[in-house]
């Protein structure tokens, strides 16, 4: 029960390379996720972040991966990303009286006196919407990978219906 679930022998080269390169992948994914100064965007950055975590889980095993990304943190990011994006969207629908215009959100912010309407829209695109999309996509892919890779203790016992 408490033995290691490995199918291959431990290899020094793979483990050292992975532990050196996973922080760089996560940093690059964070840079790509803010997509206003060049290439990038929410979906692209979210999948790069998920790829970093999936590489760590594949090399070191599911148990050690569970210590780094526990269940509560995963569920928190899954709902926090959706809360950011849908919160702004439903506020816009409410304040524009259901005509569905995004322009009304910068209209009543006090920030627009300093930066103008274009600056307020760029702030919304880069920091609220892209971050919301990226966090949800990362948490969804990591959670799906955990479920598909984890073996339960007693399976193939027969049919339960």
């Amino acid at each position: 029960m408490t033995q290691e679930r490995r199918a291959y022998k431990r290899d020094v080269v793979i483990e050292v390379t992975t532990s050196l390169i996973v922080p760089l992948i996560l940093l690059f994914g964070l840079y790509v996720m803010m997509g206003t100064g060049g290439t990038g965007g929410g979906f692209q950055g979210g999948t790069i972040l998920a790829a970093g975590f999936i590489l760590y889980i594949t090399v070191f095993g599911v148990d050690k991966g569970r210590e780094k990304v526990p269940e509560s943190v995963n569920a928190f990011f899954l709902s926090f990303g959706l809360f950011l994006y849908n919160g702004i969207g439903w506020l816009c629908i409410l304040f524009s009286l259901a005509t569905a215009q995004w322009l009304n959100m910068p209209a009543f912010w006090p920030v627009t006196e300093f930066t103008g309407v274009a600056g307020a829209r760029s702030f919304l695109i880069a920091y609220m919407i892209s971050a919301g999309i990226g966090l949800t996509v990362m948490a969804a892919f990591v959670s799906q990978y955990f479920d598909l890779a984890m073996k339960e203790d007693d399976e193939m016992e027969g049919d339960e219906g």
């Binding site: 899954l78 215009q101 695109i125 880069a126």
Partner: protein, 199 residues
């Protein structure tokens, strides 16, 4: 020579492949060519053709002739369906040279009709129609969405990435729904695969 007996699944797969090949040969005549700048998906769409009686002088003076205007409104671009109208003082006509380069596209020689749309925050005229002169006829085109995006994205949203601005700002509500689909996919896998009291 006898053919070997095939399973019913293989027969239905071959019939599907033959139907798709026939459909693609039928459809290929309506598609735009690869790399065409002036196809309807990329630049403009042709509306109708009009004889050039004396209309060039009206267009140079800055007035749209009533023959073109009534035909545009008959096609459905009128006030009842929430399109911008061509009233007096609402529009402006400019002449653009052939080969002039602006907004990431090359223009052909013709007159462009700019309409003051009256949006909430940016009150500048936008390009809507395009009149080109052929051999004694005038052809009227209507610009599509990519022309506006390539010119106005830097002003309206201060980002230089036109793809992210289209995803998050102009088409933001579509992306809001797609994110809910991804969340439902993650919840579906959790419900299918965790049975022994871990939920």
């Amino acid at each position: 020579m006898k053919l070997p007996a095939m399973k019913p699944l293989t027969i239905s797969g071959l019939i599907t492949a033959l139907l798709l090949i026939a459909l693609s040969i039928y459809v290929v005549e309506d598609l735009p060519a690869f790399g065409d700048e002036n196809s309807p998906a990329n630049k403009y769409m042709m509306l109708f053709t009009v004889d050039a009686d004396g209309l060039a002088e009206n267009l140079d003076a800055g007035i749209l002739p009533s023959k073109i205007k009534t035909q545009i409104e008959d096609m459905g671009f009128n006030k009842e369906e929430n399109y911008p109208t061509l009233e007096e003082g609402n529009y402006r006509i400019e002449w653009s040279e052939k080969g002039a380069f602006e907004g990431g596209r090359r223009s052909e020689g013709g007159w462009e009709v700019l309409i003051h749309n009256g949006e909430i925050f940016y009150n500048e005229p936008l390009r809507y129609y395009f009149v080109k002169e052929g051999n004694e006829t005038f052809t009227i085109y209507r610009y599509n969405w990519p022309v506006r995006v390539n010119e106005k994205t830097e002003e309206e949203t201060a980002t230089i990435n036109a793809v992210t601005a289209g995803l998050a700002d102009y088409r933001g509500y579509d992306t809001m729904g797609e994110e809910t689909v991804i969340l439902t996919g993650a919840i579906g896998v959790i419900l299918l695969l965790r049975r022994r009291g871990r939920l």
